[in-house]
């Protein structure tokens, strides 16, 4: 089973996606779990490394990010389906960036992200999860590898 990524690796993957395509800064890691009422997406991956990646983002930050990503100036014009679609795409990009940073020797297959609108049960022990401040909310990312 691969080693869980270091906090810096998670942060670097998040920053790459958020700053390049979402025009949003990722600040320091903050204590606590995923934000209340967060929009969460789960993405199973396979190939050389099997596991699941999770990303949970606070509702206000999700709306703001979706508006920026879609080029919509008025956040109120963004519907829940669009927010969900953007959260899934962000999850896809962060997971790809993270796995690519964890070694280039093995290819991986990303499954379509599944959206969880309500607070889901936390993952089993062993899931490496970190929460980062976004200024107008927070984002929690976690990854878990299956035992080989």
């Amino acid at each position: 089973m691969p080693e869980p990524p270091a906090c810096e690796t998670l942060a670097d993957a998040l920053r790459e996606v958020f700053e390049t395509m979402l025009f949003t800064c990722v600040y320091a890691e903050i204590p606590g779990g995923k934000p209340p009422g967060s929009i969460e997406a789960r993405l199973p991956f396979g190939g050389g490394r099997n596991g699941e990646f999770r990303l949970a983002i606070s509702p206000e930050a999700a709306r703001s990010i979706a508006a920026g990503f879609l080029g919509e100036e008025d956040e109120n014009q963004i519907g829940e389906a669009q927010i969900g679609d953007v959260v899934c795409e962000v999850t896809n990009m962060v997971c790809g960036s993270l796995l690519s940073r964890m070694g280039t020797d093995l290819a991986f297959d990303l499954q379509p992200p599944r959206l969880t609108w309500q607070d889901a049960e936390d993952g089993p022990c062993g899931c490496t999860a970190r929460t980062f401040d976004l200024g107008n909310g927070s984002v929690t990312v976690g990854i878990q590898f299956e035992q080989s």
Binding site: M21, F69, D85, E89, N92, C95, G96, A107, F108
Partner: protein, 128 residues
């Protein structure tokens, strides 16, 4: 010259972003066509001419790899330039897609100018 671009990606948000990025970059586009997976892309390509295809890899029904194989076995479509736009930045995947006939590869997330430059390179466009 303006180009006809097909975008194949299962995420409507990503298709919209790619369209917007290309338009804002100043790349000359005649028209966009969209497909939610490789199967739809193939269907569109068999009835409508385009100049370049931008495709994701991880898509339902027919993924980007299967789309490349289908294009390579189609006499009329095998020379169509394809640029892969994927989150997978592993050397293994990039080599695999290029081996299957993709002319370009760009990883998500991408800078807007990187997408334009890749399109220009693949289409042999000299930027004024």
């Amino acid at each position: 010259m303006a180009f006809r671009v097909l975008i194949a990606d299962d995420s409507p948000a990503m298709r919209l972003v790619i369209r917007r990025v290309i338009q804002l970059s100043g790349f000359a586009v005649d028209s966009f066509v969209e497909a939610a997976d490789g199967e739809q892309a193939l269907c569109v390509l068999r009835r409508q001419a385009v100049d370049v295809v931008l495709t994701d890899i991880n898509m339902p029904n027919m993924n980007g790899e299967q789309l490349m194989i289908a294009l390579q076995t189609d006499g009329k479509l095998k020379t169509l330039p394809v640029v892969v736009v994927s989150t997978d930045a592993t050397r293994h995947r990039i080599d695999r897609m290029l081996d299957l006939g993709a002319r370009g590869y760009i990883t998500k997330p991408f800078q807007p100018e990187a997408l334009r430059e890749e399109l220009e390179r693949v289409l042999g466009v000299t930027h004024a």
